[in-house]
Amino acid sequence: MSEIFFDESVILLDVEGIAKEEILTVMGRNLVDKELVKESFIQAIIAREGEFATGLPTAGISVAIPHTDVEHVNRKTISVGVLKKAVDFGVMGDESEITPVKLVFMLAMDEAHSQLTLLQQLMQIFQSEETLKYLVSEKNKTSIKHLLEEKLDFMACKGDE
């Protein structure tokens, strides 16, 4: 299992867009340019979001966790997008509801049924209003990177099944 790729270059601040498709395209394009995902990833993630929404209303700031099938991924990574203005995403499991998302965690996973610890820790972040507020207001990518590395404990995920 390959190690997760994570550095400042997959953290995008002030992402602009009116529709969720624009946000997904900007974030996806960045991952394509870095060859972390295949060109097909962008369309796949937009299509998946349309079919199965990933917006999550949390205690404070709504987040979205767009992701798609493993075959579009070269190397696993989590891309973080802080949106300039909230963009409506559908609510996971609730077709009729939308939520104004400020933070997007785009997941590029390279294998199914794994990464439990990493995902659990990610959900822990969603449950901390304080952390979410920090993430949307912090302007220094390196600080965001350090915080996420600590919270997500990337090193501990290495041999995780």
């Binding site: 998946r48 999550l56 992701h67 997941l107 794994s114 959900m123 449950q127």
Partner: protein, 94 residues
């Protein structure tokens, strides 16, 4: 008590279902319940209609099934987790 087959599903079968799967595994251990957890994509539920006892999902489903369906979004957001856990436990203990 008979071992229950619990389907854990999400859209892609890789991300949120993994979290929900982990949570149910932990619950089952805690309450000493034997469950057969099957992590799948929501589109694959059809293949288990004859064997499943419960579907726990983060994806929406419009279909009607012969077994109960529980929405597990709370495992991701932390809002209402205890209620969802209780719902699942109630079904597992039936």
């Amino acid at each position: 008590m008979e071992k229950k087959q619990v389907l854990v599903a999400c859209g892609a079968g890789i991300a949120t279902s993994t979290v929900v799967n982990g949570a149910i595994e932990e619950m089952a251990k805690e309450h000493n319940l034997k469950v057969d957890l099957v992590q799948i994509k929501i589109a694959e539920v059809g293949g288990y209609i004859d064997t499943a006892d419960l579907l726990v999902t983060t994806a929406m489903t419009k279909k009607e099934y012969s077994f109960p369906v529980i929405n597990a979004r709370s495992f991701l957001t932390g809002i209402g987790t205890e209620d969802t856990k209780q719902q699942i436990l109630d079904e597992l203990k039936k």
